[in-house]
């Protein structure tokens, strides 16, 4: 009795083993992509993401300021609830649990753990947490999904320089990442950073 698995296996049985030259090409493409990433942050060339600016979009610049923090590979132990590909140079994981991740720069001694000021905060949220009302988002096509980048408002009601990034996680959930103005990041770099953040199975919704 034939079954679906057998049919699928038979239909793909002619796919040959991978020649060495194809593997070489894969490595070469990866190396080129890594160099492009480095140039994107280092020179402000915004070519890695297809950006669609919404009508009435906020004042997010399309060039990376010289003061922008550079992204570097994250090599320390992965935190609970999340995996990190890259971090701003000199930044480290301050705290992490099932519901949130907090990154801080080297000068941050970790005092006042409840403060988000000057820190990167990531959490898994529901769609009800998306900024609404007057705020318009820039959208970036990243990994087959549309990542939303908002220019968040400060206490005075004006633009604060803080970016709010929302990446779909399926079934109406979003990975929410707040990026402080100290990073001087464009929407492109913000989206790239969030592309390298993954929510693990252990992550849970932020409550409150």
């Amino acid at each position: 009795m034939s079954d679906l698995t057998t049919l699928m296996s038979r239909a793909t049985a002619t796919v040959d083993a991978t020649p060495a030259a194809v593997l070489d090409d894969d490595v070469s493409r990866g190396q080129r992509a890594r160099r492009r990433r480095t140039r994107l942050v280092g020179t402000g060339v915004a070519g890695a993401f297809a950006a669609t600016v919404a009508v009435g979009a906020p004042l997010l610049t399309s060039t990376t300021p010289a003061a922008a923090a550079e992204l570097v590979a994250y090599t320390a132990e992965q935190p609970a609830g999340f995996t990190i590909a890259e971090v701003p140079e000199g930044w480290h994981v301050l705290s992490s649990d099932r519901s949130s991740l907090m990154l801080a720069d080297g000068d941050d001694d970790g005092s006042d753990p409840n403060s988000f000021e000057g820190r990167i905060v990531a959490s898994l949220v529901g769609s009800q947490s998306l900024p609404g009302g007057d705020l318009e988002a820039q959208t970036f096509a990243v990994g087959g999904q549309e990542v939303l980048v908002y220019d968040m408002l400060g206490a005075d009601g004006g633009p604060s320089g803080t970016l709010g990034v929302f990446a779909p996680e399926g079934d109406g959930d979003y990975l929410s990442v707040q990026l402080p103005p100290e990073l001087h990041w464009t929407g492109e770099v913000a989206a790239r950073f969030v592309e390298g953040l993954d929510v693990t199975d252990d992550a849970g919704h932020t409550v409150g």
């Binding site: 009795m1 034939s2 079954d3 679906l4 698995t5 057998t6 049919l7 699928m8 296996s9 038979r10 239909a11 793909t12 049985a13 002619t14 796919v15 040959d16 083993a17 991978t18 194809v22 593997l23 090409d25 894969d26 490595v27 493409r29 990866g30 190396q31 992509a33 890594r34 990433r37 590979a73 994250y74 090599t75 992965q78 995996t83 990190i84 590909a85 096509a141 990994g143 087959g144 999904q145 779909p168 996680e169 399926g170 079934d171 390298g196 993954d198 199975d201």
Partner: protein, 196 residues
């Protein structure tokens, strides 16, 4: 560079399986399947330094493959205006070596992209509901409902093929090695514990 060597070793072991999966995801289009795998391999290369655990690597590979497939489908649809209510004729790739395979690819093509991905991960990769949900970044309940609907559609289209007895048994020495495992027949699947 040591990291490149490790990546190349992993790719040598896993790339063929990814191409097979992509061939099913693209309903037998070998060229699009190769494009999707190349995109996924680049993503894997960039993420390689943080993928130290073998299980993490394979799970991440499945996820980026599905994302690359979804992105490719969305992009290709944006490039062309759809003026027909019926699917256009399309040459089936070299993987279609017999009538049953052609029928399978045609049936898969009629499924929505995410539903097709769900059934491929469940029945070709033999992933659990939970692992499929993780790969597709959706809830287990969504996987169950998508699987049930996909099986109904496939059963309708593949009835004769699924009752055909010409296929190699999964334990046959010529059976392709991969992430497959024997499962009950479709008739049993729709009523047994596979959906839980």
């Amino acid at each position: 560079m040591r990291s490149d060597e490790e990546f190349r070793e992993w790719a040598a072991q896993r790339r063929q399986s990814l191409v097979r999966t992509a061939t099913l995801l693209t309903a037998g289009d070998p060229h699009t399947a190769e494009d999707v795998v190349q995109t996924a391999m680049t993503k894997m290369y960039l993420a390689w330094p943080r993928l130290r655990d073998v299980r993490d690597r394979d799970a991440y590979a499945r996820r980026v493959l599905v994302n690359a497939f979804t992105d490719e489908m969305r992009t290709s649809r944006r490039k062309r205006e759809d003026l027909r209510s019926q699917l256009p004729d399309r040459a089936v790739g070299s993987g279609a070596i017999d009538d049953d395979s052609r029928l399978l690819f045609a049936a898969l093509e009629e499924l929505p992209d995410r539903m097709r991905a769900t059934v491929v991960l469940r029945y070709f990769h033999d992933l659990s509901v939970a692992d499929t949900a993780r790969a597709l970044r959706c809830r287990p309940g969504t996987v169950k409902s998508q699987t049930a609907r996909a099986l109904e559609k496939l059963k309708h289209r593949l009835g004769p093929a699924l009752r055909d007895d010409r296929g190699l048994r999964p334990d046959h020495p010529d059976h392709p090695r991969g992430d497959t495992a024997p499962i009950p027949t479709i008739h049993a699947t729709l009523t047994a514990g596979r959906m839980s």
